[in-house]
């Protein structure tokens, strides 16, 4: 998942299997994998105050696509399945939530059968029924959920719903039986990642009476520990305990500690830090401004939590436009960029690590390798990135015949991105291009660089995983299907389309349904093959830094949604 403007989003995704070991850092508390500790009623109560620069838009869980609110939705809404509470890698596990158990598969993985828990009520007092479940799935299409066409298009009947959302009926795709309290979901084809897709907020269960368009700021009744009291995007989001909530699964939706959560908006990042330091707020949402890092790392070290993210910062080249329609030109830049320098701009080696594989560390399919470091080639990669190779880069530029060409670098206009742009300009100039930086508002940069009409040659962007399957990275970002010329929604910014690789990726996906380990091995090979072609240059993988006030206790990091908000203790 991409971060929202200047803001880190949570890493969102489900871990089917995480084979690689998480990279430990000196600052991240080594936490053993395990279940959530038992509820300690002595610490219940109080008001938790969270601060952020801006609200994250609509409050409709089926439409909102930001980590900022997905973190909140975990404590408010429930799906049939959800990501587990717990510690360590447990937080990547999908567990049954409103369903009694994980689905029973039949029909070659194409049919999923759930049994709905009994006795759960919405915050408005009405019981959760199978009809609500069916309506909720139809609602995904009715409200034009951003993932309707990518996550849920495999449900039988989805194609018609996508074409005509207003009259969406999933009579064959989601079959419910009120008497037996069962829900059967029929897929067109088996899907390796279906459990994860059913566990994210876009698949939560809303009352059948929820509006059939984006609810925006109107409040939809919840099932979780909290319900929403009020929402004003320019001021605050207030959550209070859901009076109808009774814990049914300690893993899926545990009882919460604070009585109320006040999420305040319109506080600048530096004011957020000050507020947390002065115990006026419990937690700062936005990244800590670089000039405050040293201060909190020394004076407030005990309140800082750093954890790895499966995400990356990368530079998409436009492979259809000079000079980067030339392989050597792309490789030259990949060799030339000093990833350590970029890490420095980001905040130092404690907050990010250089990488050059497309799949980030800790990600299914990731292999430790680097083809673009001093003394290595894509064919003979090193284990890790060491240093840039400017001499080789200059040579490649000369060989490519693109030396002296003008290159525009399009970056967002926030501090860090702009600095990345300025740095890249220096690098591109030093290897023989005439580079200019074009910083544009972070709110449109992401769509701007996608549209081929805008003729962007190279840009800086970020990707934070959606669900932890290699297909999400490689297929979504570099598959032929993700490239639509002249559209603002063409996530394959490189415009890279390699038919042979596409076929391989399809094969790997199919293999994933039956043999995840073998599939991931295949993805690893695809990764190296793609990077030899260098449609993008990967720079580094960032880490998550949480800064909480001294009076805030019980910080638990979730690999899925970052910090568990409902488990923080203020008493």
């Amino acid at each position: 998942m991409r971060r929202k403007s200047v803001i880190f989003n949570s890493l969102i995704g489900a871990a089917a299997l995480l084979t690689s070991v998480l990279v430990g850092t000196s600052t991240s508390q080594a936490v053993a994998d395990g279940p959530l500790a038992a509820y300690d009623a002595a610490h219940a109560g109080g008001t938790l105050t969270l601060v952020a620069q801006a609200a994250a838009g609509t409050l409709d869980p089926k439409v909102n696509y930001t980590g900022q609110y997905w973190q909140i939705f975990q404590a408010t809404y429930d799906g049939l399945l959800s990501f587990s509470y717990g510690t360590g890698k447990t937080t990547f596990k999908v567990v049954p939530d409103l369903a009694e158990a994980l689905p029973a598969l039949s029909n070659g993985g194409k049919t999923l059968t759930f049994k709905l828990r009994k006795g759960i009520k919405f915050s408005d007092g009405k019981p959760v029924t199978v009809n609500d479940v069916k309506a909720s799935f139809e609602r995904i299409f009715k409200v034009s959920s951003p993932t309707a066409g990518s996550f849920y298009n495999g449900i039988v009947g989805a194609t018609a719903c996508l074409a005509k959302p207003a009259t969406c009926k999933l009579d064959k795709g989601v079959v419910v039986d009120a008497a037996k309290n069962t829900v059967v979901i029929n897929l067109v084809a088996a899907d390796e990642a279906i459990n994860s897709k059913l566990a994210v907020p876009h698949a939560v269960i809303n009352p059948a009476s929820a509006p059939s368009k984006d609810a925006g700021t109107t409040i939809i009744p919840t099932t979780g520990a909290y319900m929403i009291k009020s929402y004003n995007p320019n001021k605050s989001l207030i959550l209070v305990r859901n009076p109808n909530f009774k814990e049914w699964s300690h893993d899926a939706q545990p009882q919460a500690y604070p009585d109320e959560i006040d999420y305040k908006f319109g506080v600048t990042p530096t004011a957020q830090v000050t507020a947390v330091e002065n115990n006026q707020a419990n937690w700062a949402y936005d990244p800590i401004p670089s000039d405050r890092l040293n201060e909190i790392g020394t004076k407030y070290a005990a309140q800082v939590h750093v954890n790895p993210l499966t995400a990356m910062w990368y530079l998409p080249f436009n492979v259809n436009l000079a000079p980067f329609n030339n392989l050597k030109a792309r490789q030259a830049v990949s060799y030339a960029i000093d990833r350590a320098a970029m890490v420095k701009i980001f905040g130092g080696s404690q907050l990010a690590a250089p990488v050059c594989s497309f799949l980030p560390p800790n990600f299914p399919g990731h292999v430790d390798y680097c083809g673009y470091t001093k003394g290595a080639t894509p064919a003979k990669p090193a284990k890790a990135w060491g240093a840039p190779d400017l001499a080789l880069a200059k040579k490649l530029v000369k060989e490519s015949g693109t030396a002296g060409q003008a290159v525009g670098i399009v970056v967002s206009d926030d501090d860090v991105n702009k600095q990345m742009g300025v740095y890249l300009q220096s690098v591109l100039n030093s290897i023989g291009y005439k580079a200019t930086v074009k910083p544009i508002s972070g709110n449109i940069q992401f769509t701007y660089i996608q549209n081929t009409k805008n003729k962007v040659q190279i840009s800086v962007t970020q990707w934070y995983q959606d669900y932890p399957a290699a297909s999400d990275f490689l297929d979504v970002l570099l598959g032929c299907a993700s490239f639509t010329p002249n559209s603002d929604s063409s996530i394959n910014m490189a415009g890279y389309c390699n038919k042979a690789l596409d076929a391989k990726m399809a094969k790997a996906k199919a293999l994933g349904v039956t043999d995840a380990v073998a599939a991931n091995k295949m993805w690893g090979a695809i990764d190296q093959e793609v990077m030899a072609d260098a449609p993008v240059a990967v720079a580094f993988t960032p880490k998550q830094l949480d800064f909480i006030s001294s009076q805030t206790k019980n910080y638990i990091f979730s690999y899925q949604y970052k910090m568990f908000v409902s488990q923080l203790q203020v008493k």
Binding site: T147, T268, N454
Partner: protein
């Protein structure tokens, strides 16, 4: 007089319509600004994109979109934001207005008092050093970039000296007067002072010069010849005449500030006023909010302009012919 007011009103409406059309056209001429993809969400497929475009009327021709937006803004008053969907624009605006008024009125009181006091002092003081000193301070006042001054004030009160002298300074932001009058005052104190510095500088200079000009007029010389005391002349004639200038200047400045010119001060001090709302919506390319704030802002600017003109016309009928 009625025809004059009528003419001013129709000119106002014309200006407002022109501005709204320009804002609209500039917005849609900006590349990459098409809200559909941002509304649809990251990586939305082309079908979803089309659905969103349709439901936000973005697939209709520009003039239709303009009329529809104006209708939602002024007639049904239910225009909603592109970014915070479902959030109605007009309540957002009306919630921001008290903060802006608090900021501007407070600052205005300070700068008017300071400006008038020092202006008269500079023009009347017998001591040789006072006039140049006040003149110098006035120049410094009008030369300070307000955003920079704000940041330096924040650096001092929020960080460097926050743990000693300025412990009592609350964090940045705004607290409503009705919520807690004392906190309202504390939160706004430094923004007031920062904003007032510039205008106090202007008013001191204008008032001093006006008084100087009036004092050199013939009728004042006559008064002097008649033996009126310097003080009496100053207060009765000079100050009264000069205040007419100050009042009209104040009208224009107040209109402009309430209409969003306090943007930088609001941004720097994190005050959720109209300026900040405008700035945020510009950053977000949130056209409905931009349109509402721009209409509101230009209304105030144009309205105060017209009001000052009308007041002038009442005082001096010749103006009406021009």
């Amino acid at each position: 007089m009625l025809t004059f007011i009528g003419r001013r009103l129709s000119a106002m409406v014309f200006v407002l319509i022109s501005i709204s059309i320009m804002v609209f056209l500039i917005f849609f001429a900006t590349p990459g600004v098409d809200p559909a993809a941002r509304i649809a969400g990251r990586g939305a497929d082309q079908q979803t994109l089309m659905q969103v475009r349709h439901s936000f009327e973005l697939d209709r021709p520009l003039p239709m979109r303009y009329i529809s937006m104006m209708k939602h803004l002024f007639v049904s008053q239910d225009l909603t934001s592109y970014v915070n969907r479902g959030a109605k624009v007009i309540p957002q605006l009306s919630q921001a207005i008290p903060a802006t008024f608090s900021l501007v009125i407070g600052a205005a009181i300070i700068w008017l008092f300071a400006g008038i006091f020092f202006g008269i002092l500079a023009a009347s003081s017998k001591k040789k050093w006072i006039d140049p000193t006040i003149g110098f301070l006035g120049i410094v006042g009008i030369s300070l970039p307000v955003y920079w001054l704000g940041e330096v004030v924040n650096l001092i009160t929020q960080s460097k000296l926050h743990n000693s002298v300025f412990k009592w300074v609350p964090p940045l932001g705004y607290v409503g007067l009705s919520v807690d009058p004392w906190q309202w005052f504390l939160h706004l104190l430094f923004p007031w002072l920062t904003l007032a510095v510039l205008y106090a500088g202007i008013y001191v200079r204008v008032l001093r010069n006006e008084i100087m000009v009036v004092m050199s007029e013939d009728y004042i010389k006559t008064e002097r010849a008649k033996g009126a005391s310097e003080k009496r002349i100053l207060y009765k004639h000079a100050t009264r005449m000069s205040l007419i200038t100050i009042v009209s200047l104040f009208g224009l400045d107040f209109g402009a500030l309430v209409g969003g010119y306090a943007l930088l001060t609001e941004v720097v001090f994190g005050i959720q006023g109209v300026g900040k709302l405008t700035f945020d919506s510009l950053q977000n390319f949130d056209l409905p909010v931009i349109m509402a704030t721009v209409m509101y802002a230009s209304f105030f600017v144009v309205f105060m302009n017209a009001l000052v003109d009308v007041v002038y016309a009442v005082l001096d009928p010749r103006v009406r012919r021009v």
